[in-house]
């Protein structure tokens, strides 16, 4: 805890004792909370046989499995399309032609400002698109726009001299981009890209609201079944760890990449690495609409 050292002294024996007391009190509080939850769970019969019975059936297991696969499918498609969308519009925003730049800026700003769910519903209800493609399209437009800003900020963060040196060598703009700017920006951007993919993965669960048959949708089907005495809590106990586990794995990979990037940056002196999880600072532009990567 490097941050904490500024806030309190290294505790002496008396303070350590006091902290132990606080710790004990906090633990008692947390334990009390947990045991209350446990008591409520048992009291409302959440561990009864009927409520857990459905998970033994092959059909139910297959339903959950298909839901999980559908979630991963939507995520894979959305991630691929969003990355392509992001590259395209980041290039558009960095273009030397004003109409292209204007158009790209408009598209990116609009889709970042719209609630994702409104876009998904619009595509699903008004344009009558299949649930999977409505979900993928919505995720692509939103995450693609955020990624476009990540890419743009990454390219702009490469020290100016790099670009100038490349131009001075007689490279054309595409060459400068491909051989000088993108490879350097890539390393700095990777953690932010992965963090945004975590957001996309979390948002695939919005598909549940437009009847796309993904993981949460499968869970709801089981949870609302009267034959099994409405096993809401057991379904949550099965589904939530899977979702949280998937997102945690991705988050940790972002963290690992960030740490590796920071190490090599210190050795070679490249551009600063954006910390994962912390929203990127607004790109340098006046009247900028802030990004909310949540």
């Amino acid at each position: 805890m490097a941050a904490a050292s500024a806030l309190y002294d290294i505790p002496g024996p008396k303070t350590r004792g006091r902290h132990r007391l606080y710790s004990l009190l906090a633990l008692v509080g947390i334990a009390g909370l947990l045991s209350w939850v446990g008591y409520e769970l048992v009291d409302t019969g959440q561990f009864s046989y009927t409520k857990w019975n459905p998970f033994q059936y092959k059909g139910i297991q297959r339903l959950l499995w298909h839901g999980l696969l559908n979630t991963l499918k939507a995520f894979g498609l959305a991630a691929a399309f969003a990355l392509a969308f992001g590259v395209l519009f980041a290039a558009g925003r960095l273009s030397e032609h004003r109409p292209v730049r204007r158009f790209s800026t408009l598209v990116v700003e609009f889709f970042r400002a719209m609630p994702l769910l409104v876009m998904i519903f619009f595509i699903f209800v008004a344009m009558k698109v299949q649930p999977l493609w409505a979900l993928v399209a919505g995720l692509t437009l939103y995450n693609g726009s955020v990624l476009a800003e990540v890419f743009r900020a990454g390219i702009l963060a490469v020290p100016r001299g790099q670009r100038e040196a490349a131009y001075a060598l007689g490279m054309r703009k595409t060459q400068v981009m491909r051989h000088v700017l993108v490879p350097q920006a890539n390393r700095a951007m990777l953690p932010s890209i992965i963090s945004q993919l975590v957001v996309a993965l979390k948002d695939t669960s919005l598909g549940f609201l437009i009847t796309y048959e993904e993981f949460l949708h499968a869970g709801k089907l089981i949870a609302t079944n009267l034959d099994y005495d409405l096993p809401f809590i057991p379904v949550v106990m099965v589904i939530a760890p899977v979702y949280i586990g998937m997102c945690l794995l991705l988050s940790w990979s972002a963290y690992a990449v960030e740490r590796r990037g920071r190490r090599s940056v210190r050795l070679r002196g490249g551009p600063a690495v954006a910390p994962a999880g912390v929203p990127m600072g607004s790109p340098p532009e006046v009247g900028e609409h802030p990004v909310g990567q949540v």
Binding site: L7, H19, L117, F122, K202, A240, C247
Partner: protein
């Protein structure tokens, strides 16, 4: 165009609903966020652990799943509130994890000397944090907190698909009345833009007023 004028009361109701939901959830998220950030930098290991678990769990849970748990799950527990309270709970707790992390990164920007000076005056941890470090940290994180609140306003749309107290939820009754679905959505979009732009403007002003130059 006449979609808006003909259904003004439905739209207005939804717009106010979104505003209320955003404002109350934001208050909860800010209060919880400050508290958990305090936990995470405190000298008491148990509280630090609690803060870490809170942030890690909530940041990696899809908001839809959280709504599912709170709105559909809690009543099975024998806990029943009006829908609005449930929505505030889900949105507030979810956003608090992000607010906590923003604040914590703000605490890291406060020079070490500030804390040391406070301690040398004999201030306790609570005094150092609440009187010296947090006020400066808060000023440093105005911009990120602003984008988090914009995200909160946009996320409140999820509440609309669980119940009709909110702007996105208005499309259903209007759709049933047989109005143009495209224009219905255009006006919903305009409603959200008004809210997010308003937050953005307020926070830009705040940022200019409160910026700390170091």
């Amino acid at each position: 165009m006449n979609v808006l004028t003909a259904n003004w009361s439905i739209y207005w109701h939804g717009f106010i609903g979104t505003l209320e939901l955003t404002a109350v959830s934001a208050a909860l998220a800010l209060a919880l966020g400050v508290l958990i950030a305090g936990f995470r930098v405190s000298p008491v290991p148990a509280l630090r652990g609690f803060g870490l678990v809170w942030v890690t769990l909530l940041r990696n849970t899809p908001l839809t799943l959280l709504f599912f748990i709170v709105v559909l799950g809690l009543p099975r527990f024998g806990i029943s509130f009006p829908f609005f309270t449930f929505a505030v709970l889900a949105l507030g707790c979810y956003t608090s994890a992000f607010i906590c992390e923003a604040l914590r990164s703000g605490i890291n920007t406060v020079p070490v000397g500030q804390g040391e000076a406070a301690r040398s005056l004999g201030m306790t941890f609570g005094q150092t944090l609440s009187l010296v470090v947090l006020p400066q940290a808060a000023r440093a994180v105005v911009a990120p907190v602003g984008s988090l609140l914009i995200a909160l306003a946009k996320n409140s749309a999820i509440a609309g698909s669980f119940s009709v107290v909110e702007l996105l939820g208005t499309y259903r009754p209007i759709n049933e009345l047989g109005y143009s679905i495209i224009w219905t959505f255009v006006w919903i979009a305009v409603g959200y833009l008004v809210i997010t732009l308003a937050i953005s403007v307020v926070f830009n002003l705040l940022e200019r007023r409160l910026a700390v130059s170091r």
